[in-house]
Amino acid sequence: MSAPIDPAVRIQREDFDLAKESTALCAGRSDVGALVTFSGLCRDEAGTLAALELEHYPGMAEAEIRRIARQAAERWPLNALTVIHRYGKIRPGENIVLVLAASRHRQAAFDAAAFIMDFLKTRAPFWKKEHHADGSEGGWVEARDVDDEATQRWHKSPPPDR
């Protein structure tokens, strides 16, 4: 197996574009057999949510996501890997996070993207505050136990490299 690739990680206020990122990821190469993308979007919660305010820890946010992405690149044979996470005010329907994982084989691409999202949810220093549609300030979104459990599965048994 060749050396792990160097993931691209960006923390930014502005929106990103799935098409542009996937085109950039695959540009000029034809060894990619599988590209998995994950977009996390802001839901409107049945119309009750006006916006999410995403606070982050500058510096550590990028460092931690880079650590997670590098672990994925060491664990699965990837051709390319990009992770982008936004901060600031994000409205329903807008993008929050994007992961692109390219590999020769589909299972590596699926697993790497899912692994990154599981660890990003529980380890990347971002916090969401809700702004309600009725103008009232919502509270801070609480962490979900199910997200902690999701990270646990990657410790149990490494999936076979298919």
């Binding site: 550590m60 949810k121 916090w127 505050k129």
Partner: protein
């Protein structure tokens, strides 16, 4: 030493960061949390459930039994909700 706070820890303490000189007996993260909780009502409320507080030293996650020796920046924050 620089302390930084995020999300509801920041809101309850009332500011985002501060420089603090720690007493010599503060050795671990747990010591720091207990000592900070005695610094006033905001700190007390923010750190009441100490086990819920996540901590990073020099921008890396650490457990509460980690030693803080050598820390330039210690961050306290709630469980993360990004992604």
């Amino acid at each position: 030493m620089k302390l930084v706070y995020f999300a509801w820890v920041r809101e309850r303490i009332g500011h985002a960061e501060e420089e603090i000189d720690l007493p010599d007996e503060i050795v671990t993260v747990a010591d720091l949390l207990a000592w900070l909780a005695g610094r006033g009502e905001g700190y007390e409320i923010a750190l009441k459930h100490a086990s819920a507080i996540r901590v990073a030293i020099n921008q890396e996650h650490v457990a509460h039994d980690a030693r803080i020796e050598g820390a330039r920046e210690i961050a306290l924050f709630p469980p993360m909700t990004g992604g």
